[in-house]
């Protein structure tokens, strides 16, 4: 699709370099810290699974024991594999049990002990990474066999019953009805849990817990459907909240295909500490890069708390930052499902053309990224007929601006989590729009200095001004000031800061080493 806005390349380059400038200090900070979740993710990579009788995962029990003895700042690998090499237990699981029974003491090995521990850790964690590599190849094989969706955008649907065993038939129904991507949203509480629940779960609120077993069950079910439908149906979950790195790891191990994974969402909308988030976020993205997982960012959320017209440029800025952090972590363009949304108040004159302008700007700023186009939510009401109408125009913008992933809107957005019938009606809506008006982009040619082009340029200009300001007084300051989504989050506030440590000199983590190696 030939470009419709013809953005000035110089301006675009400028925007990118400012984003780099604004992001680099954050990356440096992330490199200098580790978190309990990064370390637990390392243990999980090495194969540690399961939980104690009261459901607290062995990864947490072991981590806590280690931290109690030698602290977090050296990483968990040296003390743990030193203990294993010393023969304290013949495997991680055993070690975790002994540790939580208090029958092992950990130390920081030195010299040849340290070397041996490093080697053992690297070997075992490496095996975990190879398991992720295998899953990635498996996905590539299955996509080859069953094929990608014929149409763009890919059709993305949410299930949210809270019960994995209700989620599964609903997901399979949705796939049959045309969904290309299924997202299982999480129970409201999970992002604040500092551990990953275990096993199949049936009691989430407005979402289902993200657990390794739930991942496995749903992926298996969708493999069935993919086979039935001759189309590889992708699975999405959320690498976000306090366990971002571990969930990213589990996603890689269970062949999830996309993950919601934003560099700032946890800070802004879950009040998680900024440092904690940025550190976890970098590790999780390195895992996603390795696993061939497409990430989805969360700019859409800003427009639920800030006005979609006034704050349009904050979306663009956040997309540029997310792009920078993602590339730095090794993700490639095709993996960047940058988020944006149809959230302008429908009463605003020309609101539809404003949406087109914003969507086109994103499309042409990130020509090689899939882009995730999110439906109206904030201005949806109990008038489900009006809701169905707004969703249709959202779909039309998606088709006219060549979005990559279309999160299907529900007419009951303001009422309930999606019903089975809502999803079916919503897909009918999408199908009509794509089938009837899919080609309209050919006839859609905004005047070079008409309403749409001008609006797009204006938003880009405002983005550059904002980036300038951020470069001057740091991203952490900007976040503290409520730049994004009007949420004010100071760098020393929020949850999970106690799980962060500045790396000591002899900090060692085979996972990061291996992930950064390539």
């Amino acid at each position: 699709m030939k470009t419709k806005l013809e953005l000035d390349p110089v301006t675009v380059r400028k925007a990118r370099s400012l984003a780099r400038k604004a992001g680099r200090p954050i990356v440096r900070m992330a490199q200098q810290h580790t978190t309990v979740s990064v370390e637990r993710a390392t243990l999980r990579l090495a194969g540690l699974q399961g939980a104690d009788p009261d459901g607290s995962p062995w990864a947490n029990r072991l981590m806590d024991a280690v931290r109690g003895d030698v602290g977090l700042e050296h990483g968990v690998a040296l003390p743990v594999w030193d203990a294993l090499v010393r023969g304290e237990a013949e495997d991680l699981a055993m070690l975790a049990q002994k540790a939580s029974a208090g029958s092992v003491r950990f130390r920081l090995p030195e010299g040849r002990d340290a070397t041996r521990a490093r080697a053992a850790a690297t070997k075992q964690v490496g095996a975990g990474l190879r398991r992720i590599d295998a899953r990635r190849r498996e996905r590539e094989r299955l996509v080859k066999r069953w094929g990608d969706p014929e149409q763009k955008p890919w059709i993305y649907l949410i299930v949210a019953t809270g019960d994995i065993y209700e989620d599964i038939p609903q997901a399979q129904n949705a796939a049959r009805a045309g969904a290309d991507v299924i997202a299982v949203i999480r129970s409201t509480g999970q992002s604040l849990l500092d551990f990953v629940p275990e096993g199949a779960t049936r009691e989430g609120f407005a979402g289902t817990y993200a657990t390794q077993e739930n991942f496995r069950l749903m992926r298996a079910a969708l493999d069935e459907s993919s086979k039935e439908l001759g189309r590889y149906v992708r699975l999405t979950n959320y690498a976000s909240g306090l366990c971002m790195p571990e969930i990213a790891t589990l996603a890689g191990l269970e062949r999830l295909d996309m993950m919601l994974n934003d560099s700032m969402y946890g800070i802004l909308f879950r009040d998680i500490n900024p440092v904690r988030t940025f550190v976890d976020q970098r590790f999780s993205r390195q895992v996603h890069a390795r696993a061939g997982i497409i990430i989805n960012t969360g700019e859409d959320n800003y427009l639920t708390t800030a006005d979609a017209v006034e704050a349009a440029h904050t979306v663009t800025v956040s997309q540029l930052l997310n792009e920078y952090f993602a590339k730095e972590a090794g993700l490639e363009d095709w993996q960047l499902g940058l988020g944006h949304a149809f959230e302008i108040n429908p009463e605003v004159p020309e609101s539809f053309r404003l949406e087109l302008a914003h969507a086109l700007l994103a499309r042409e700023l990130f020509p090689h990224a899939p882009l995730k186009w999110m439906p109206p939510t904030r201005h949806m009401t109990g008038d489900v007929f009006r809701g169905y109408l707004l969703d249709a125009f959202f779909n039309l913008v998606g088709a006219m601006t060549g979005q990559g992933i279309l999160l299907v809107g529900m007419m009951t957005e303001a009422v309930v989590t999606p019903w089975l019938s809502d999803r079916d009606l919503a897909l009918q809506n999408v199908r009509y729009v794509l089938n009837a008006a899919g080609g309209l982009h050919e006839d859609f040619r905004p005047h070079p200095d008409g309403f749409i082009a001008q609006r797009a340029r204006q938003v880009l200009a405002e983005s550059i001004d904002l980036l300038d300001a951020i470069v001057d007084d740091t991203l952490l300051e900007a976040i503290a000031d409520g730049t994004f989504g009007l949420m004010k989050r100071p760098a020393d506030g929020g949850r999970g800061l106690d799980g962060v440590a500045k790396k000591a000199g002899e900090y060692f983590n085979p996972a990061t080493d291996l992930l950064e190696a390539r």
């Binding site: 109990g382 489900v384 989590t417």
Partner: protein, 245 residues
């Protein structure tokens, strides 16, 4: 699977959506009135998720909630197809065998109803849903009187043509026009014919309830999405059996 509840997003949740208008100004009381009606319909809890004034005297409601009625699928009586679906070939053969002559149907859209697309879909060669209409059947003679045919005209033509079956369409249902016209029609035929000789009376239209044959005094009712094949197969079934008995 005898006893069921509506399904919103979990088995047994019983969730339904309702919308209606009450002739009263929009207010808190109106919301309460909307909720009251929903409760009376068995919806509890009933959430008024949308209420909007339509002018000074009316309020529109959208309500979601859990209905506490159970659906007993064993209690459902539907007019299941009690005859085999035949191919045109089989129909022609059966007619020939049973009647030893062509079967004559007279079709019309009676009263002031001018909607012929439905009856034409059944009668014209062109047909419906990929099936050819009755005119296509060698052994069926079709007399299509078109629309806005009065009942006396219809009876007269049925006589003249020695109709085996009379096919009537009714699409306009406002103020039960379709029911009134159908009753008038069947009464007239009972008038005009000795019960043995009366042609088979068949009515169709998108809003008929197929279970109302008794009440309307007709032999069969066809509704939404009927195909010519179904009608032809039914005619054979009914007329052949009749001869049989």
């Amino acid at each position: 699977m005898a006893i069921l509840r509506p399904y919103g997003d979990t088995t047994g949740d019983g969730m339904v959506q309702v919308s209606f208008t009450l002739p009263m100004p929009h207010s808190k009381v109106a919301d309460g009135a909307g909720q009251q009606l929903a409760n009376k319909m068995g919806i509890d809890p009933a959430l008024v998720v949308h209420s909007k004034p339509m002018g000074p005297d009316f309020t529109f409601f959208v309500i979601y909630g859990r209905v506490n009625h159970l659906v007993d699928t064993d209690q459902v009586e539907v007019v299941e197809r009690d005859y085999d679906l035949l191919t045109p070939k089989e129909v022609n053969f059966a007619v020939k065998k049973a009647l030893r002559r062509r079967l004559t149907v007279v079709g019309a859209c009676i009263g002031t109803d001018a909607h012929t697309v439905g009856i034409d879909a059944i009668l014209n060669i062109k047909g419906f849903a990929g099936e050819k209409g009755l005119e296509y059947y060698r052994e069926i003679k079709v007399v299509n009187l078109g629309a806005q045919v009065s009942v006396p005209q219809l009876v007269e033509r049925a006589h003249a043509e020695k109709a085996d079956a009379v096919l009537v369409s009714q699409v306009v249902t406002q103020r039960d026009a379709h029911l009134l016209n159908t009753k008038e029609m069947s009464a007239a035929f009972r008038e005009a014919y000795p019960s043995q000789k009366r042609p088979l009376l068949v009515v169709g239209g998108p809003r008929f309830d197929e279970a109302m044959t008794e009440e309307l005094g007709v032999d069969r009712i066809f509704s939404r999405g009927t195909t010519p094949g179904e009608v032809a197969s039914y005619l054979v079934h009914a007329l052949v059996n009749r001869r049989a008995s």
